[in-house]
């Protein structure tokens, strides 16, 4: 523990009660290997305050929450609640300290009732008395102004209500600080509104909220202050009044590139569209989920990048192009077929390749690399009988070309690193380049070297004749590859960049 923390006066010092912050973080640091994910993070939050937390990928928000939740143990620093140092080195410790994190993936028991879920954290009895549970729960719900029936199964509620139940559960069990991790990403505007009404009610009763959000309007409407993080440090904490998107992005990015790899200020001149054949076209398409009024054209041999923050709906667009997500209204034509009517199997046969964001769902991890590489185009590799020697040859070729380091063709894919798994997946579509290749988050979570390799592989697929939709939440990836770049925010395309000079910063501003 750094000495400057240890030498600070202890919490028993005499202080006016009102001045004691509800939550105080002092000098929190966390390293992974040689990389600092959190550097000396110090923050004070008042009781009843809603503090927004803003920052781009890798700013340290996730690590900070994990530290608060006891999922990660910081290398240095302390957490205090109401002036008393608490132990957040384990999930249990964090719970006892009164800190709750509501993640995007809710941790509710869908088939159990609201009452059972609500009380699951606070009841310690061998036998459950259903009637008294429901009664107790109903009282709690009333005091919270939460209008749901305690006896219905949680999964039958709307997502926003489920979130409120989860927050409610946290409050029941004595939470003082609730962290909301991008709570509205899956919510409709009206659901989001309800949720924030609930949040403001709870905060007026003294509960402190940390709201992680990508969205300026959400932050301005619902938070008192916003803390901006960058590269593991707290850049500044500012009141939300008068905040602009440019100012926020500026704070989050800093004056200059902090180090190689951000690319937020790397500029690229996008080519002038040539206007050839159109491979896929969406016309005011509403998709199942959040995407509304989508207009999109992908020309032959073109790389269209669709940039947006996680959960903005860009991944839904990728799924829809592969026929795996329903088009509710409007039209989406892919290679001359109605995407929804055709479905994945027929679109695949028509020449659509799809690399899903969850790469593990597209790889057979226990199978050797060569089988994963040849999966989509075995006919091409082995016109008649399966000949493993052919497959090995093709696979070795890709291992060299894409730099899948230290791998042999027979190695199980599951033993590779994430970046190399992604390369295997892209190799699959290089064996026989499809007419349209849809890639969702192909570079997520990769180091710079692997990312460069993957970007090269994608360009190669284009050179071999594929038109490409590149869906990404990394601005630098979109800037590096897109011939045309669309930005998406809450399911709506906010800007189209073409035939102009663009920086990652511009994309960030377009979705803030």
């Amino acid at each position: 523990m750094p000495s400057h923390v240890a030498t600070k006066p202890n919490p028993t010092q005499v202080e006016p009660a009102s001045a004691t912050p509800r939550l105080r973080l002092r000098g929190l640091s966390k390293h992974y290997g040689g990389v600092a994910a959190l550097r000396d993070v110090t923050l004070d939050l008042r009781a009843g305050e809603v503090m927004a937390l803003f920052g781009h990928n890798g700013a340290g928000k996730s690590t900070l929450i994990k530290t608060l939740a006891g999922a990660e143990v910081p290398d240095a620093g302390t957490v205090e609640i109401d002036g008393e140092e608490v132990d957040t080195t384990s999930p249990r410790g964090a719970l006892e300290a009164g800190i709750r994190v509501v993640y995007q993936e809710l941790s509710l028991f869908g088939e159990l009732s609201v009452a059972e879920n609500m009380l699951s954290g606070s009841r310690r009895a061998a036998f459950l008395d259903r009637r008294s549970m429901v009664k107790e729960c109903r009282e709690h719900l009333e005091t919270m102004g939460l209008n749901v029936d305690p006896t219905v199964a949680v999964e039958s509620l709307a997502l926003g209500e489920q979130q409120m139940v989860e927050i409610g559960r946290a409050l029941f069990s004595g939470a003082k600080v609730v962290v909301l991790d991008e709570p509205t990403s899956a919510l409709s505007p009206s659901e989001a509104k309800l949720l924030f009404e609930f949040v403001s009610q709870m905060s007026s009763r003294g509960i402190t909220f940390i709201l992680i959000s990508h969205f300026l309007d959400e932050i301005m409407d619902n938070a008192d202050r916003v803390t901006v993080m960058r590269s593991g440090t707290v850049v500044d904490t500012v009141p939300v009044e008068g905040l602009t998107a440019a100012a926020l992005v500026h704070l989050a990015l800093g004056e200059q590139d902090v180090r190689e790899g951000t690319f937020a200020d790397v500029e690229r001149q996008l080519p002038t569209p040539v206007g050839g054949k159109v491979v896929a076209r969406a016309t005011s398409a509403d998709l199942e989920g959040v995407v509304r009024g989508l207009d999109l054209e992908i020309g032959e041999g073109e790389i269209v990048a669709l940039y947006g923050e996680l959960g903005c709906g860009h991944e839904d667009v990728a799924e829809a192009l592969f026929g795996a997500r329903r088009v509710v209204s409007g039209s989406l034509e892919v290679l001359g077929q109605k995407a929804t009517a055709a479905g994945p199997v027929r679109l695949r046969r028509a020449g659509v390749g799809y690399v899903p964001a969850d790469r593990r769902s597209a790889l057979a991890l226990e199978q050797p690399i060569y089988r994963n590489v040849t999966l989509a185009a075995l006919d091409k590799v082995c016109p008649w009988f399966v000949r493993v020697a052919n497959e090995h040859r093709v696979t070795k070729n890709f291992i060299e070309r894409l730099g899948i380091r230290g791998a042999s063709a027979t190695k199980e894919v599951g033993l590779l690193s994430g970046g190399n798994q992604q390369k295997v997946l892209i190799s699959r579509w290089l064996v026989d380049a499809p007419k349209l290749l849809v890639l969702a988050e192909p570079t997520r979570g990769m180091d710079v070297g692997a990312k460069t390799d993957v970007l090269k592989a994608i360009e190669q697929a284009r050179d071999e004749g594929a038109s490409i939709l590149l869906v990404t939440s990394e601005p630098e990836t979109a800037v590096a590859l897109g011939d045309r770049i669309l930005t998406m925010r809450r399911g709506v395309v906010t800007r189209t960049f073409q035939d102009e000079s663009v920086r990652g910063r511009d994309l960030l501003e377009a979705v803030a």
């Binding site: 340290g60 923050e309 990312k451």
Partner: protein, 367 residues
């Protein structure tokens, strides 16, 4: 964030073992059993006559296990195989005898007596039909194969009773008798038939796109779908094959025993599953094959036959067999553990350390 370590590939014994642990474990079990029984019953176990006997005993099981292996490779299960084999035996004798057989609500059917090819291929076709019914339930209604094939299991056993009326049927075609109990020189024909089927199935699995797609569907169904593999078609074909092979096993069984009964092969289900799993084919799909199944069959056969050679209480036999099965399965698990550990020594395996940040600064997943 550092790039993955780039140690060079050094093929060593551990790596070699790792790649083959799945087969080495069962092989080791088989060798141990052979040694144990040879030592305990030196005069009776390792004789030509007994080994021939062993092969005959295991052959019916082998044919059944071929289809079952494919089903397990898909990550599914077919519980109907044993009862289908019993039914096929009854159907074989019924067709050959020329006796009337009930057609449920549609009166009776009757064939001219003595048509061998109908007596052989008719039951096989019915077995395939039942497999197709299973696949329909699985594919179209989304019923788990465990339950779907349980229904077919019941139908098959009921159908066998319905046609045999509980009688033992003795009209078995000559060709079936020859296949079941004839021999070519010292080698029983039934073992040759089983060997040919195993070999063909092996080639299908390893050398055809259909075979490959079985592995890939079993390994990751979604990945196969995303890559354009016609998953439902593969499922259908495998269950049809499994039904057909189970029926053919039933025909061989009546050829071996010289008569058909409604419950003749019913107790073969668990041995068949045990043999496939003992060989090392995974119940979760994607891993295994005919080579594994051959070894599993031999383990089961040697265990079953070897215990007969020992001077022990006959009623204790299943108990001891169970104990041996546990030991053999534990050996498989151990082999897998060794494989896993050895693979950690292989290059590139140490990709992301468990504690790696999900959000490496600047290049990670979204916070």
């Amino acid at each position: 964030m550092s790039a993955p370590s780039m140690t060079r590939t050094t093929p060593n014994i551990k790596y070699w073992m790792a790649a083959r642990a799945r087969i080495l474990g069962p092989l080791f079990a088989l060798v141990v059993l052979l040694v144990v029984f040879t030592a305990m019953a030196p005069t009776t176990f390792l004789t030509g006559a007994n080994l021939t006997n062993l092969l005959t005993q295991v052959s019916v099981l082998a044919v059944m296990a071929v289809g079952l292996t494919m089903v397990l490779l898909l990550g599914e299960i077919d519980l109907s195989v044993a009862n289908l084999s019993s039914f096929a035996g009854v159907a074989c004798a019924t067709f050959f005898s020329g006796n009337a057989f009930g057609l449920f609500l549609f009166g009776e059917g009757k064939l001219a007596p003595g048509i061998e090819w109908i007596a052989i291929f008719g039951p096989v076709a019915l077995g395939m039909l039942m497999g197709w019914v299973s696949s329909l339930m699985i594919n179209k209604a989304g019923i788990p194969s465990f339950v779907a094939t349980l229904a077919v299991f019941e139908i098959a056993s009921g159908w066998a009773l319905y046609w045999s009326q509980g009688n033992t049927l003795y009209d078995i075609p000559g060709a079936v008798k020859w296949m079941g109990s004839g021999s070519l020189g010292p080698i029983p024909v039934i073992a040759l038939v089983a060997a040919v089927i195993l070999l063909v199935a092996h080639l299908v699995l390893q050398r055809t796109k259909f075979g490959r797609s079985i592995y890939m569907v079993g390994a990751n169904r979604r990945a196969a779908e995303l890559s354009g593999v016609p998953v439902q078609k593969v499922m259908r074909n495998v269950f049809v094959l499994s039904g057909g092979l189970a029926a053919f096993a039933g025909v061989l069984n009546v050829g071996r025993l010289g008569s058909a009964q409604a419950e003749l092969g019913n107790d073969l289900l668990l041995p068949a599953i045990a043999a496939v799993v003992l060989g090392g084919t995974s119940l979760f799909g994607g891993v295994g094959g005919m080579g594994y199944t051959v070894i599993g069959l031999l383990i089961y056969g040697v265990l079953d036959n070897g215990l007969d050679q020992l001077d022990i209480d006959i009623f204790l036999k299943p108990f001891i067999r169970g104990v041996f099965l546990i030991l053999a399965l534990l050996l498989n698990v151990l082999a897998m553990r060794i494989a896993r550990r050895a693979s950690e020594f292989s290059p590139e395996a140490s990709a992301p350390t468990p504690k790696a940040p999900e959000e490496p600064p600047l290049v990670g997943a979204a916070a």
